[in-house]
Amino acid sequence: MPRIRTYNDLAEPDRSDLLGQVTAQRSRVAARLAPVRHVVAVASGKGGVGKSFVTAGLAAALARSSRAIGVLDADLQSPTAARMLGVPVGRLEVTGDAVIPPRSADGIRVMSSELLLAEGAPLQWKEPAHERFVWRGTLETGMLREFLSDVEWGTLDVLLVDLPPGGDRLGALTELVPNLAGIVVVTIPSDASLRAVRRGVREARDRGVRVLGIVENMAGYACGKCGEVSPLFSGDAAQQLAKDADAPILASIPFDPATQKAWDGGTGARGHGTAAPQSSQLPAHSPAAALERAATALMSRLP
């Protein structure tokens, strides 16, 4: 048996170079995001607190202040961002090395699995029938990577990434986008929310991710007639989280059924189906005014 040479003894390159291929994927993400000034994730450790609503509302408020905004819906299993922003589900144009993101009426560039899947269809993968759970995470991280690298985001002031509940996707995002500007943490006032979201804040800090601020959603119920805000939940989760994270509360947003209906119908950014409201016209207690305050506070936290 002759002495077999080692991998490094062989002078010809390793055409597979799997590590090189993975590195090239990361370089592609970095190159695509180079014209994006800030990538900001909207996150929560708890589901149902209104992350997507806050993401869409922040995006609309920032766009109204003449900023170039993108929204990446990283909630791949339960996508909602496109319809909330009124982006029609149509054909995506592929040009060169990228997919052109459709735009909302406000010019917000959006990418979401909602634009790829048939109506009502779950996100499923071509995979062996057994051990599916092994692959899901890797495939979904690949999907997130392609949403970052293969979408022609162009020059943006802020790319908002709407994360699903929990911390898994934040981990993938921080590896793909090492210069993530930070996260906006969304909570409702309750103690249950505090317990769940606190874990997410801890995880973010452990990963070295900056908490840009807390948004308290469903912070009471605003009377449509007199504007008086009554409590919906007991608790002070936002104040506790702000203390934990050493970050400000960007805004407290009251719940308003008409606002919720408008966003669900894709007309929220236009002020319940009418013309886009001017900041000065917004009632101070309205969700839209709170979102404007959150957007202003968020920008003040970015370099």
């Binding site: 002759p2 077999i4 040479r5 991998y7 062989l10 002078a11 010809e12 390793d14 055409r15 597979s16 170079d17 799997l18 291929q21 993975v22 090239a24 994927q25 592609r28 589900v89 054909r91 995506l92 144009e93 592929v94 040009t95 060169g96 090395d97 990228a98 997919v99 634009l115 790829l116 899947l117 048939a118 269809a121 996100l123 499923q124 993968w125 071509k126 995979e127 062996p128 051990e131 092994v134 692959w135 890797t138 495939l139 690949g142 999907m143 990577r145 392609e146 293969d150």
Partner: protein, 157 residues
Amino acid sequence: MKFLCIDCDAQMAFEERELPGDGTLAATFKCPSCGRSVAMLTNPMETQLVSSLGVEIGGRTVPAQPMELIRTRVEGGREDAFTDEAPAADGRLPTAVNPPGRVTWDAAATERLSRVPSFVRGMVKRIYADYAAERGIARITTDVMDTARRELGLEGM
């Protein structure tokens, strides 16, 4: 990974990839000295691991296509999710397989292309069209498609 022909003490060169069935990925390598070929066979778990990462054993043979992992791995994507050609000046989307001034497709090749799921069809069409254009092939036939598949290692396309 590298493959060594022990008799010749020569590094074997990547030849092609294919999916022969049951989740196996076959990557063949050939000794440039004696011509001996070997096939590396992955089991379904290994095949899935590689494809889930979006990498290719033997290296990339065509540039990464936009949303390639999504288009090749998502089950049941919307039929009309993508258009791989720019809309015309009037905004209408292309429907013809043989737009003027481009590489053309004969009937059998068009029929084979039509069997590719529409979610990924535009991408596959573009890969074959680029292959033909780069080689000065004016008309794509099923023979051209077979050759391209073999040369480019377009397993599963």
